[in-house]
Amino acid sequence: MQLVRFLVALLVTTALTILASMHAPFGSRLPAVGPFFSPFGGFWQNGEHVGKYTDEKFDLPGLNAPAEVVFDERGVPHVFASSMEDLCYLQGYLVARDRLWQMDISVRATAGRLAEVMGERVLARDRIQRRKGLLTAAERALELWEGQPEEWSLIQAYTAGVNDYISNLPAAKYPIEFKLLGYEPEPWTPLHTAVIFKSMAETLSARHEDLQATYTRQLVGDSLFQFLYPERNPDQSPIIPESVNWDFEPVPVSQPRADQPASETMMSQQMPHLPLPQPPPFIGSNNWAVAGSKTASGHPILCNDPHLTLTLPSIWYEMQLQAPGINTYGVALPGVPGLLIGFNENVAWGETNVGQDVMDWYRVDWTDRSRDAYRWGTQTKPVEKVVEVIQVRGREEPVLDTVRYTEWGPVVYEDPEHPYYDLAMHWLAMHPTDQRDFFELGTFFRLMKAEGLPDYLEALKGFENPAQNFAFASKDGDIAITVNGKLPLKNKPQGRFVQDGSDPAKAWGGFIPHEHLPRVINPERGFIASANQRSTGPDYPYYYNGYFDDYRGRYLNRRLEEMDQVRVEDLQALQLDNYSLEAEEGATLLLQLLDSTDTELRTHPAVQQLREWDFRFEADAEAPTLYERWMEAAFRQTFDELPSDGEEAKKTLYPETWRFLALLRDTPDHGLFDHQETETVENARDIVRQALEGILTEDYEPQAWNDYSAPFIAHLGRIPAFARNDLPVGGFHNALNAINGGKGPSWRMVVELGDTPNAFGVYPGGPSGNPGSPFYDNTVDDWANGEYHPLYLMESPADERVAPLYQFNLEPTE
């Protein structure tokens, strides 16, 4: 009896202990209860001791010489090292200390390795990432990097820094997301850095509408298609002013045979699935530089605010890096050595994305049903089969997936029902890179050290993809902008529609030579600027298609043209400007059309409010909400003949906003405004009135813009409790302050290049990725309130402008 009760107790205790040690018990997503709650190793250990910041002195094995790190009151590290290698080593160490899980999950998400730690539920996503070839592309990039000794040594130093942090990290101190998901950090490798680079390419250069355009052209016919979807907005104000002459002889672009007119030959018969997930729209950015001739101080000022999906932890890691021959401040991408946007005492630089389409789709002409070979001109070619090995948590054996690679690139989809079945993806990020003297990292390291314009011009030669508009200003008084990257030579309308993959002549005709890339240096108008709009006016000798902004760029150029005696504060205000040119034109037009009808709604109080609106998307204003709802409804009702919901809508291309406004303005009696199912013939005036009637019903309640737009900053792992949803901000995707739902300015920087840089910056986040740290989101409120922090390029660790919160005194391990 005594034995039995003992055995029962032993059994129950053991069983419960095992159960409480199990991650995700019974298929739930719960962390293992015992280890997670244990205050000795679980989540409690991630709570930082608030207010206790003491100087630390310790050894690091990878250092070659003593170094110091000063953390300022916001927790931003200022690193002082004796060599570039030590600098990169410490950057790796610090970024790992603050952002280890972010680095880990970003690599997994891009390379298609999430299922390793999250199991079956993310397997489909991993498969697509693999089939898109991101891991393969990273491996190719790495091979090139290895051949460049300078960059390679910096990558290795960075890698060692990350790994020296990880190897001394007790399990109790693993970032909390590792504990929630129940896995451990893995060692960092240079391949991980290459993958992070490709994730940037994926975010910024993977937009494609080939299939939607092909489908929609088939639906509406070519002539209506050309009418609704013109490639160029005549009102655009390009990045390179139209006064610039192209004083070069363009390289000839071979003229392939005309594309088959019947797009249906390029389509699968059925299109029941979603297209490839697109990078989120409205990712854009602003940068500009104003010459000393236009500023109050006489010194040039450079500004940059990249708009991206806002996350906690932030995509950026702010820091200063100093070593002999370099002293620079800016923001880094966790996982990548160096700074991507920043300044030193001589120059400042910043990027916006270039919208050129560099992902095209080709229909593969298989020789037989085995899909092992395809036609390529007069010959046949075998596919190269790459087997992707995907480890899945909870499965004994890995999942094997064979991907067919053609000359164009991978055949991404295997499901015969899928609309992309038989289509090969041709994407610049996968294209074997030419051998160059240096690569993307070399570009940023040259910018970090740059002393003036020649260094900037030289640095850009290494940067290929994702193409960026690199803005530049120097203390010498130079300003410049270059539409920089590897941009394919295309024939109109190459790359707009799905193309015939059996014709080698359909390939890109090479690339625009670096020296022919759109660029302007010290223009007469005294400023350079970009906001993701078209790079050039129509006279640029090379054809390109893509995805371009239509309003921010025009407004930015207009404002900079008007401004004079510019001060830093004026440009901060411009970054925070909620004025929308789209609304200026759109609201005016909607009201004009409404006033030409006899509806009583013309005197509705909400409409009166809209008449008095200043076109600013301020947080507490109600007019912008009505405008946005009205515009959306009018758009929907105009294009009601296009599929509006479900699977069909997802493969349809809708006209751009600027085109819709032009149609309302120029052709209000066009047949496309007619609802085909009604007997009466509607025109634009009817549509606009009906759209408003649908909103201003009897139970209409006005709503503040902030309530309607509900901006938020998500946690990178989509854990709602780690996100911020309480942002009292305005903004609009077609305003310079392009806050839009979960996207917006991810880093605002303003740098005046005087005797010493007068620099300001803010980002919605904090240095730490730890939700248990006061530095997790310590600058979110400042960002939301439109405040900036002074950015001090410290001369030494003793620079008195910065009061250190704490500091590291580091020695090489004996």
């Binding site: 005594q2 034995l3 009760r5 003992f6 107790a9 032993l10 129950v12 205790t13 419960l16 202990t17 409480a20 040690s21 209860v33 015992g34 280890p35 709650f37 244990s38 205050p39 000795f40 190793g41 679980g42 989540f43 409690w44 250990q45 991630n46 709570g47 930082e48 001791h49 608030v50 206790k52 909390i176 854990i719 709602p720 409790a721 780690f722 939700p771 248990g772 740290s773 006061p774 997790y776």
Partner: protein, 118 residues
Amino acid sequence: MQKIFSYVFALFLGGAVVLSLLPWWSLPIFAALLAFWLKVRPGAAVLGGLIGGFLLWAGYAGLLNVQNDGLLSARIGALLGGVGGGMLVLATGLIGGLFAGLGALTGSWAVPLLRRSS
């Protein structure tokens, strides 16, 4: 009664040392070994284990929570369906108490077995 006090005391101090070095499941094992070694009666073992485990886990969690200004517990509490930081400390204590109590009972019931065999 005095036995409970000394058991709780030993569990609290010894547990702090053991758990700093070993994974969380060393708690029930240590509670069992301690109850066996001190020959604690079953009733006292359960009570002592509950109290000692609770104090150890809730105490340490509470200390960390105070040092952290409740920043993290507010977020974890929200993640677990809207519990406050105090509740989270309490829940942590109960989990510690449960496993220490179970371990203690097992250890206590092992005492007569060994006595008989010897």
